[in-house]
């Protein structure tokens, strides 16, 4: 019921954007305002990447070859798996399987922590090789993008803990899962950003 009032009462959007006309909004409107804002933020990162690549093409050819590609691949697989766990958590809350839902949330949280550990190790490895944010224009963009993404994964991982707490308090059920779904779509957004970041930094030469 709270979800319905949130998705109807924000009068800033035209009627054609309402759930009745355009379809169900996964989660709620406020999280989508957040998601679209963050997409804009990451969009700025990507534009900066393409502008820098235009002006320094050789640096952007050499740069990816200096990175620890296998750590990037590992992190990509971890985030994809975490998204899978998050989708499974949503599937289970819809069946009122709260225990299984919680289990999948913990698995997603574990993947988030694993990502953060591997990313930290990668930054440390870069440092050992003598690479830092001021090494070249590629590395400036690399740290700009990956450190911001790192922060987002950290915040969302903390949000998973909050959602697990709320689940244990009985706040979510098959009929009322908008808050959990809001976290789920935010987590998928973070995964989507890494799906774009990974080829730009690790694959394209």
């Amino acid at each position: 019921m709270k979800n319905i009032s949130i998705n109807k009462s924000l009068g800033i959007f035209p009627k054609s954007w309402s759930e009745e006309h355009a379809g169900r909004i996964p989660g709620n409107i406020p999280i989508w305002v957040g998601i679209l804002s963050e997409l804009t933020e990451f969009g700025i990162f990507f534009v900066a990447y393409f502008i820098a690549k235009f002006y320094y093409p050789e640096v952007f050819t050499q740069g990816p070859q200096s990175l620890h590609t296998s750590l990037g691949v590992t992190n990509t697989i971890i985030l994809l798996t975490s998204s899978y766990f998050m989708a499974k958590a949503m599937a289970n809350i819809r069946l009122d399987n709260k225990l299984k839902c919680e289990r999948y949330l913990w698995l997603a949280f574990f993947c988030g922590c694993l990502y953060l550990i591997i990313k930290t190790w990668e930054f440390y490895w870069n440092n050992l090789q003598g690479f830092g944010p001021s090494t070249s224009e590629f590395f400036t963009i690399y740290y700009y993008m990956t450190f911001n993404h790192f922060l987002h994964v950290g915040w969302a991982s903390c949000a998973i803990l909050w959602v697990i707490f709320r689940l244990r308090c009985g706040a979510y059920s098959a009929k009322e899962s908008a808050g959990l779904e809001a976290l789920a779509v935010y987590w998928h957004m973070i995964d989507l950003m890494w799906i774009l970041i990974f080829p730009l930094l690790y694959v394209l030469r």
Binding site: I25, F50, V73, A87, L192, L196, P199, L200, V203
Partner: protein, 84 residues
Amino acid sequence: MKYVGKLEYYLVALIAITLFNTFLGEQFSSTTLVTILIALTVTYKGFMVIDHFMELKGANKNLRFLMRLYFVIFPSLIIVSAFY
């Protein structure tokens, strides 16, 4: 149960595409063809997560359009960058 099976399929497909992209990047220099292939696979991966993990397929068409547009615009810039 059918729905549960599909999630596993999508995860395996996403991982396979990721490994394929990495193989392309490691084994070949980023020629125009390789860059276009990578851009298309990134778009496909994004669409898969948007439609089936975010569950926007069959949900709000405006949000689905915006999310998918994002994964058309930036992979298109990847293709444009091949001509730098």
